[in-house]
Structures are given as structure tokens and as C-alpha cells.
């Protein structure tokens, strides 16, 4: 039982950063931007979260710094792909490399360490016990006691779904993806909508980064985003941007992450480490088959 609860909790925690970044990614997806810089935005967020938290002794400042750093990345992206019209793919790759290099470099320069920086000075984002619910057996263990950002993520998922499908911004956002000229001639510059989508995406990726370095663990380690941004992108593409679908895929991925560790009882660890990636391939496979069927039928 404990193991099952552990797997579920592990799933929720592992899914959170992926989901947050993917929610940002889905906004840019709807706006018609091929944004692969989420990995880098997340990494920058994780690093600056630690900076903010460490130097101001406050997790709030940590989150603020994470979001700001990620926004700086978003602004560079905007400058390149929206203003200079460079290729989005290239820009994204460049930004990811940049984030990796710069965080490693500044980790060494600012904290005089390499690899990882942890210290009692870093204040982590608190976990939240939900009154009442926390006392219910089982349910309490699963629903209560998660990090503040986990609950924020839940709210943000609902918000993004609402934003995309119910609001004025959502209507314009999707229009920017479907037909930017139409939006332009309707009196709303499509580029402006795109810029906003990138800004929100930046903020969410920053939050995802803060969760990595201040929520789940309390430290920064080099390349700590560890490919999560790419998984987020895969999640967005897999479900065509639907926020609920993204939540599902993120959970699936979070689950397979823990499942891999669990399976080490029967398989060599090298194979269990593949589980999340094989799971993504299977998800893609199922999606392709389903799409093929709808096209054929």
C-alpha cells in the first residue's frame, strides 16, 4: 500500500515540472510557434530560483528570480524569432545551449562550486498540508502534503484550459496559430499575441524550474532539467495541445519515471532507466495509430 501511495506521490511530483512547462508550451503551440526552448527556460529558472532564494533567504524571491530569468530567455526568443524572424528551431537550440553553458559557468563563478550547489541558505518552497483532507486516510496521504507549486500547477492547468478555450485571449491565441493574417486584419497584431504566449510560457517554465530546485529538492545541479523540457514538448505534440491531455501525459510520464526505479527488482537498471522514453514512444505510437484510423475512416 505504502509503495502504491509512494508511486502515486512520485508520479505527481515527477509530473509537476513537465506539466508546468508543457502548459507554457501549449500556449506557444496554439500561437503557432515551434518552441523548443522550454528546456533552457526551465534550467535558467532552476538556477535563478536558487540565486533568489539564497541571497534573499526567501523562497518567494526564489520564484520571482526564476520567473524573471526565464522571462529573459523568452524575451531573447521573441527578439529572435518574432522580431528578426529567425528559424524557431535554431533559436530554441541556441537558447538551450546558452542556458546550459551560462548556468554551469555562473554556478562556478558565483558559488565557486561545480556540479551542484546546496546549502542551508537556500530556502525551499513549503509543502502544504490541506486541513481536513489531510486527516482522511489514504486520500489525505495522496492529496495533502505536496509542495505549494504542485497545487499551483493544478490551478494553472485549469486556468490554461480556461484561458485557451473560454477567453478572448484564447480565441485570439488560437487564431494566431490557425491564420495569423486573419488576426492581423481583424485588428489584433498576431505578433503581439505570440509575444504574450511566449511570455506566459517563459513564466511557467520559470516556475517549473523553481519547482525543480526549490520544491522537489533544495539545490541546483548542472543540467538539472535533465531533458524534461523535451518531454514537455513531446507531451504537447502528442495531444495536440489540449491542456487536459497534457496533464494526463505528464502524469503518465511521471509514473513511468517511478515505475522504472521500481522495476529494478526484475530488470537491470539500464533497462529500467529506459522506461520513460519507451513510454513516450508507445504514447506516440498509440497516438499515430489513432490518428491514422480517423484519417482512414
Amino acid at each position: 500500500m505504502k509503495i502504491a501511495i509512494g508511486l502515486i506521490n512520485g508520479m505527481i511530483t515527477a509530473a509537476t515540472p513537465i506539466l508546468l512547462a508543457a502548459l507554457g508550451g501549449t500556449l506557444t503551440f496554439y500561437a503557432g510557434i515551434f518552441n523548443i526552448a522550454m528546456e533552457g527556460m526551465m534550467l535558467a529558472g532552476a538556477f535563478f530560483a536558487v540565486i533568489g532564494s539564497y541571497f534573499f533567504n526567501s523562497w518567494l524571491m526564489g520564484i520571482l528570480f526564476a520567473v524573471l530569468a526565464s522571462l529573459v530567455m523568452a524575451v531573447i526568443f521573441i527578439l529572435f524569432s518574432v522580431v528578426l524572424k529567425t528559424d524557431e528551431f535554431v533559436t530554441g537550440i541556441g537558447l538551450n545551449l546558452f542556458a546550459l553553458g551560462a548556468t554551469t559557468y555562473f554556478l562556478r563563478q558565483i558559488f565557486k562550486v561545480k556540479g551542484a550547489f546546496s546549502g542551508p541558505g537556500i530556502v525551499s518552497v513549503p509543502n502544504i498540508e490541506i486541513p481536513l483532507i489531510k486527516d482522511i486516510p489514504l486520500v489525505g496521504e495522496i492529496l495533502s502534503g505536496h509542495n505549494l507549486i504542485v497545487y499551483l500547477t493544478l490551478i494553472i492547468t485549469i486556468w490554461v484550459a480556461y484561458l485557451v478555450f473560454k477567453t478572448r485571449f484564447g480565441l485570439r491565441l488560437r487564431a494566431a496559430g490557425y491564420n495569423p493574417t486573419c488576426l492581423d486584419t481583424s485588428g489584433v497584431p498576431a505578433d503581439r499575441v505570440r509575444i504574450w504566449s511566449l511570455i506566459i510560457c517563459g513564466a511557467l517554465c520559470g516556475l517549473a524550474g523553481a519547482y525543480l530546485s526549490l520544491g522537489y529538492v533544495t539545490l541546483f545541479s548542472e543540467n538539472m532539467s535533465a531533458g524534461r523540457g523535451w518531454i514537455s514538448l513531446a507531451a504537447v505534440i502528442l495531444v495536440n495541445g489540449n491542456p487536459w491531455g497534457i496533464a494526463l501525459i505528464s502524469l503518465l510520464f511521471g509514473f513511468s519515471d517511478g515505475l522504472g526505479l521500481f522495476l529494478q527488482r526484475v530488470l537491470p537498471s539500464q533497462f529500467t532507466s529506459m522506461v520513460p522514453y519507451v513510454a513516450t514512444l508507445i504514447a506516440l505510437f498509440v497516438y499515430s495509430i489513432r490518428r491514422k484510423e480517423t484519417v482512414l475512416s
Partner: protein, 512 residues
Amino acid sequence: MNTIIEMQGIVKVFPPNVVALNDVSVDFREGEIHAIVGENGAGKSTLMKILYGMQPANSGRIRYRGQDAIFHDPGEAIANGIGMVHQEIILIPEYTVWQNVVLGVEPVGLFGRIDEKEARRRVQARIQEFNFNLAVDAEVGDISVAARQKVEILKLLYRDVSVLIMDEPTAVLTPQEIPQLFNELRRLRDNGHTILFISHRLDEVMELSDRITVLRRGRKIGTVDTADTSKEQLAQMMVGREVIFSPLRQEQQIGDVVADIQGITYIDAMKRERLKDISIRVRASEIVGVAGVEGNGQFELVNVLMGLLKPTSGEFFVCGERLTHASILDRRKKIAFVSQDRASMGACLSASIMENVLMTHHRLNKRFSKFGGLVLDYAQANRFTEEVRQKLDVQMDSRQAVFRSLSGGNQQKVILGRELSLGAPFILLDQPTRGLDVGSIEYVHQQILRMRAESYALLMLSSDLDELFRISDRIVVLHRGRIVADLITAETSITEVGYFMLEGKPNATKID
């Protein structure tokens, strides 16, 4: 009447070397229908886009209601009461009518939520006020082209514009839909709207407008009162010379069946029947024209014939060879194909001219490869490009220049040169003159007729009825994926074909 808009000395340059507008000055009066005419590429759309804030002018000045006004984006123009319906319909097919209409000026409630009920109500109110036949909740992708155009107009009326720019609104309409549109426009003018109307169809302009401005090659030739002019005078102003409509088609003995389309049916992924039992026979030395309102199966027909779509049932033969399920390469041995979309199907804009000319030939003609088809023979390819250039009189800088650098007419010449020299017995032409100017169109028509004279079989889809009537021997009409008429050109009329296009059946009360 007051002058509402003055445009003075407008210059617009498109790099590298197009002067689209060269010192154009024109004024529009409040409450008039003002037509702007000119050949393709004369600068009509550009002039209006500048007024509408979609493109900046390089120099010049605009005064609107007596004040200097340069709009930086369409939003500003709309806010000031100027709206534009574009040459190509720009709507979002995935959205409903009301969503398309309110996009950009949505009524919102709390937290930015769109007030759907209010939006629908307002759109419905406008629809009733202007007596449009539209359903607010229909998805735009599902409605007819004429209805989409109404959505475009509605979109502007919803924004309370007083100046309405219409860029070639009749291009996509059937002859029967045009009078209805004109009535609506007249009613709007009588309500005090100013309407700027772009066209190069002189009949329409003469019928509808109060005043006419003529542009030619980026310059304004003049503005005239409609009452004081004639079609002939306008034509001369437009083209700068007298237009001689030479007799084109010569009688010729028709040969054996070359292309045989037998009962092709195509049902798409959404289970919609896009083509139903299409049978067309094209003989040697014959041009069969395919008429129809856009979206009635032309796209699917071409794609099925070219192998991009798999027909659900039916057969297709060329010269007795069954091509129904053949690979595209096998088809290309028998079919020459000129597509309507130069940029995506007809050419590779970013490749060199030579590389464009070489396509398909590189596979079908041994001459272009060495060492058992492994290595390209560039010398041969260059020679061939030169042949095409000379034969079709293409204006180009060099064979290695990118295809994009050619003008539209020259691009089409290169494509024709490539396809017609394939020697394939069946030639499929999909809107071969779309986007070309009068001179180029005449040239393309001559080439098509030359192929007819040389005993090729041609199938030509066109939305331009004049074109079909000028060169085809027979006209079949597509309506909702079916062939509703197969008429001998000499024995029918534009009106009759128009009725078939619109209704799918002959008009009960023939007017002829």
C-alpha cells in the same frame, strides 16, 4: 459630396526591384462607390493595403476626414472606421461564423471570458439588419464561398466601419451571386457607407460604380465618372494599347480517347463524399474545360488524377494504361501537369531555375544522367534550360538564379516549358493563368492551343469562365463533387454554365 480620403503621392517599393506604386494620388468621396481598376499587378491591392495600414508606404501622405492619418496596423484603420475585405478570403475555417465576426472586438465578461450569448446576439442582430442569409453557429469551413464573403463583410459592418474596401470580391462568385452582392453594396452606399471596389472586370465596374480610378503598372492613369466613360475607353486606359481579342480556337479533327476517367468517387477522412461518379473522356486534339465554383471537387479531382489522393472507387486510364493506383512517377510518364499553385506544387521557389526545369525530366529522360542514372549531367541540364528559355522567351538573369526571382509570368512560362516538353500525351492544367496579367494569359493560351494542334489531349480546370469559353472545346461543370453538365462550348452560354455551377441544374426559366 465631401472628400473623405485623400491619398497623395504614394510610392511603394518592394525590394529588390518592384515599384508597385509610383507617385499615385487619388481621392475618394463620402458615400460613393469608387472602383479601382487595372491589370494584374497594377498596384490596386497595394494601394488599398497602404490605406488600411497593412503595409507602410515609402512616401506619400494620406488625409482622412480632413486630417493627416497614417494607420500603422489594420486595428487603427478599423478603429477609425475603415475596413477591408481581401482578395483572398481570410477567415478561420475552424471557427464559427460568430467567432470569426467578433474576433478582435469580442464582448467580454469577467476574467476575460468571452460573453458568448452577447456575441451571438449582436452578430445575429447584424445579420438581420443587413438581411444576410447566414447561420451564426455554422463553422466557416463548412459554408460556401459566397457565404464566407458575406462573413467578411459582416465582420466589417460589425465594427461599424464607414469606409468599406472590397478587393476583387466577385472573383470567387458565380455569375448569379454577383448581382446579389451588388445590391447589398448599393444598399450600404445608400446608408452612407463609402465603398472602394477593386476589380478588373469592366462590365461589373460600369454597372456598379459612381467613379472609376485606373491604375497601370503602378501609376495612376486617371479618375473618371462612370457616366462619362465607356468600357472601351477604360480598357485602353488599363492596358495602354488597344486590346485585340484575337480569334483563338481553330476547328480541328478530334482524335481517339487519350484520358479516360471512369466513375471516380472519392470519400474523405471525415466521410464526406468529395467526388461522386466522375467520368470524363478527353480525346486527342481536344481541350475539355472543367467549370465550377471553387470547392466543388476540383481540388480532389486533380489530386486523385495526380496520385496524391486515393480514389474510393472508379478507374483512370491514359492511352489504355491503367493509372488508378499507379505511382506518381508512372503517372508522370503519361501526364503533364500545370498546377494552380506555383509556390507549393508547381515549383521550388528557393531552388535555381535550372533545378526547377530539370524536375521530372531527371527521371524520365536518360539524357540528364550519367553512370546508370546515378549522377546528374549538369551540362545537359543547362543546355535544356537554355532551350526552354529560348523557346518560351523567358526573361531571366541566369540559369542559376533562384526561381523566386522570376516574375509571375516568367515563372509560369518556365513551368509550362518544363511540362509541355515532357511529351506526355495527356496534359492536366489547373488554373494555368491564375495571377497572370493579360499579356501572359494570352501567351499561355497560345501555348495550350498549340498543344491541341499537336494532337495532345488537354483537361483544363478554371474558375474564369471567359477563359473556358475562349479555348475549350467542351465544358463539364462540377457541382458538389458531381458532373452536372457536359456541354459543347459552341452550343452553350456563360449564363447557362453559371446556372449549372450555382444550382447544379439548368435554370428552369431559360433566359437566352
